[in-house]
Symmetry: C3
């Protein structure tokens, strides 16, 4: 085995991450620094195996179940890739094709799909107050099912995006930063502007900005959250960011000026989202089945958005960043002015200049998910990784 692999394994051996085993990944702020670092390290290790045509198949059979309550390309394929690479077959719970509408409870579904499930990946980001609660409920119910002897094993849950956090995205973003800046220690003191940007569409989830301020404040970074008045995120998550900044020696500040956020930033993450309060209102309207109210709210929010078309990542604004060369991040797809819409989040020329790094940013997601599954299901990750490397089984016989 090469030096690179050995170095990663040595690094892993120094980290305390044992609490990941048999656990779920729901929110980054539930995890210790060591646990996050172990995930980054194992993600790099698994990527190394893939790039060197070595199979890391730890499951001879098994199911990775996906539940997507919203459309998805990237996350769906990332989850499928991660599962497949480790040996799990993906089985999608398409709620439209299931009997859930016929009165099945969450408790029942959670057990019924889990008799042979190793992992359950859930995306549920549409309604404020619902997504995380749903994931937590599934976690609790499979716990109960395992303790009651219904399930012979407890499947592990991976949050593929909820109303609060989007850990597989922000961990992939972070691994991209770690690689771009040459190490997690080099993120210390870097300024990142997590800013709202105009989009002609409505109701985009808050999980990315929330996830970013909740995670990037762990690395001693100078995290600035910028948005027009009225586009506040969840206060609890701002509180998490504030606490992190103080605990880990960074900063967390807020501004209503995109220009101020971009000024001398090392990294910018301009992206649209909906106001937290409005999304909470929408959840209630859906709960009441008030379709007129929903329509009215949509109209109102689109009008509100339209007042902030100047919140765009333009070439002019990019020039004001550190040496005019801040790293541009996005979870994709972006609303690109003149390409995917008339006026959007980012100038086409800016987007195109960063297209390759953006795609690389996305490329970390399957490895982050693989690492989460690996560390949550494998009792002795270090020995197992060593064994996989030693046995050196080719993924593709050539």
């Amino acid at each position: 085995m090469s030096k690179n692999f050995n170095k990663l394994l040595e690094k892993l051996k120094k980290i305390n991450y044992k609490a990941l085993y048999q656990n779920d990944f729901l929110l980054t702020w539930d995890k210790t620094q060591g646990e996050l670092e172990a995930i980054f390290t194992v993600a790099d290790t698994i990527r190394y195996l893939r790039e060197n045509n070595i199979s890391p198949k730890v499951f001879d059979s098994g199911l990775g179940i996906s539940i997507f309550r919203d459309n998805s390309t990237r996350t769906r394929f990332s989850f499928a890739s991660a599962c497949n690479f480790l040996g799990l077959e993906v089985q999608d719970l398409d709620e439209g094709k299931s009997q859930i509408a016929h009165g099945e409870t969450v408790k029942e579904t959670a057990n019924m799909i889990s008799f042979m499930a190793d992992v359950i990946g859930i995306r549920d980001d549409m309604y404020i107050g619902k997504g995380h609660a749903y994931q937590k409920a599934v976690a609790d119910y499979v716990d109960e099912g395992f303790k009651d002897g219904v399930l012979e094993q407890r499947p592990t849950i991976v949050n593929l995006q909820c109303d609060i956090d989007h850990p597989t995205q922000t961990m992939a973003d972070s691994l991209h930063l770690i690689n771009e800046f040459g190490g997690i220690e080099n993120l210390k003191g870097k300024k990142i502007a997590m800013t709202w940007a105009y989009s002609p569409s409505y109701g985009k989830p808050l999980s990315v900005p929330q996830g970013v301020i909740g995670l990037m404040t762990r690395f001693g970074m100078d995290v600035v959250l910028a948005h027009p008045e009225g586009y506040e995120v969840m206060p609890e998550v701002e509180e998490v960011a504030r606490r992190n900044a103080s605990k880990y020696g960074g900063n967390f500040t807020k501004t209503n000026s995109m220009a101020e956020a971009f000024k001398d930033a090392d990294i910018v993450y301009p992206k649209s989202w909906a106001p937290f309060a409005a999304m909470e209102k929408r959840t209630n309207l859906y709960g009441e089945g008030d379709h007129e109210g929903i329509k009215a709210l949509e109209k109102e929010l689109l009008a509100q958005n339209a007042q902030h078309k100047d919140w765009a990542c333009t070439e002019e604004l990019m020039k004001t960043t550190k040496k005019g060369k801040a790293l541009y991040l996005h979870c994709l797809p972006a609303d690109i002015t003149g390409l995917s819409c008339k006026e959007g989040e980012v100038d086409e020329s800016v987007f195109n200049r960063y297209r390759i790094p953006l795609y690389k940013e996305a490329s970390y997601k399957p490895y982050i998910i693989s690492a989460m599954i690996f560390l949550q299901k494998i009792k002795n990750p270090e020995e197992t990784l060593q064994k996989l490397a030693d046995q050196n089984k080719p993924r593709l016989v050539k």
Copy 2:
């Protein structure tokens, strides 16, 4: 290998079940006592392997094709789990995405999906007179295709529910009973009440009650079928039950009183279904494209249901069963009074008391399906099971 595994294998060696090989599983009453017992035994064996982290992968590759003509959670995941555990990848024939609507015949489809199919699982329970006939047709066509040299092998069919029987459900129910009562021989003389119960929804399939009376009469049980007048099941299946009872030393009786059925019962299975005659009428109306007729029939049936709201599995009724402690069965999801509907099949407190056994009951289904596939595809099941145990390949490397 442990004693438990050896005992199961010894038991299997004493059973005559060879006719399962290269055959289909469509109706339990097409099978001998030995064949059913072999399936129960192999299901337990495969469960043992799973619980001891031993891989039973007999297929290095291969397809398990599913055809679901109705929504499904449990059966879909059970089939996927069974296939995956043995090494088959599930490929769903989504008729909406296929060219079947464009004039493809059943004969053609059966052959076109089977070039590399090892198993075809079919659920077709909506129309009386159609589901079993469809499964039989697929079976005949792949037979023909194999004999004509079109198919290099003949895929085996597993009935995942038809208009007549629901063998993977009732076999799972039975394996649950066998385990709860400590052996198949202990079912002799036990009273099981298969009774209709009120549901606010309409047109529930008859395959469960029919499957139950057709199977449980094989174990020397005292099987009582109870329903309000007008909710008769298929007369042919009642005839099967009568014949079984006489042949295997049990009883089969009918009553129009739920109280009578519950009285001193060891096991109760209260569940809604539609009258056979009405479902036959519905099939004809669909055939004629008579949408007005269908609507009128639906209204009529809901009204008919509503006259029997007293057919519910209440705490009072449960008290009248053997020592007040009959085992409550259901194929799930149940209509739970006060939880999933205002008035339904069962009191919430009854359902909750039996939730864990109910989930365990469901947990047998993937193993029953595994066993059916195993015995229908593997020429020498005893040697193969011994080999799998000896080779002791971990399902999950830990």
Copy 3:
């Protein structure tokens, strides 16, 4: 290993096909004679392995991604079978469930699904001028992604049907002919009638007739394209056919008489398609969102079709073929007079007489796709095939 396998391997060793490696399969006329012959040979080899229960699993894990922009049974299952047999899991990109509608570009999607994709199979045959261009774009974008370091490997593209060609169909048709006539050399001089036939449905793709005249002219055959006036195919493909005929010593002629085409034909391929010019017009109408125009065009085309109900493969016409026994081909499903429609492409008695050969024709498709993937992904196919045969791993443990 048996003689048959060795003979195939010897044959392969004499063919120059190295340019297939790391390449795509989009159009048959992009490929050399040697490359096509290598695919036929490897398809036969893989079929041999399958029929002798030997696993050709070269992928320990990996994804085969399918993109179907039209309904499909045969091609969907053929692709799934091919992928599964080689060790790839199929992951379908269902564009309705993805974020493509939310402004994602083709370039982005192509990269986002490819981080761990080995193969991408695409069917896009609906709009003239679109399908091939889309496949070419995906190919270019994954090329770019690989060169830019976004993708650690470049997935290979397989055309599962475009607006121009349908290579997996016509290669399967050809392999069927090779086997029926006892060798590719025996196709020389054989007359094949690729003729239009009446269908009550509208807008059938041109890719089959175009693919057939573009491929069969490579084998020194006497290829006749017959259709009513106004049902012309793409002129560029006719040009390909003309060039092939002259280069490879065959003939390519056109006629407006079905009788003339059938006269003394060794093979007939009667099948409906839409006029090229009308499909081009339709593409433009869709582009303009002109729904009234589309409806009017549909009506017009159905009326045009109806003038040619005499273009049918009847018993009378079959009698005029070589000894009255021409081999009847179809890509299925066919419009069968009196069975799937009142008047259609072929008499029921003709279709029934050829049902078994037709199903065999279809059975080659999974092997053709397997061979394309194998030769595009495996660096040393001959050594690898030898290794697979030597290791003799059973596909199904019996």
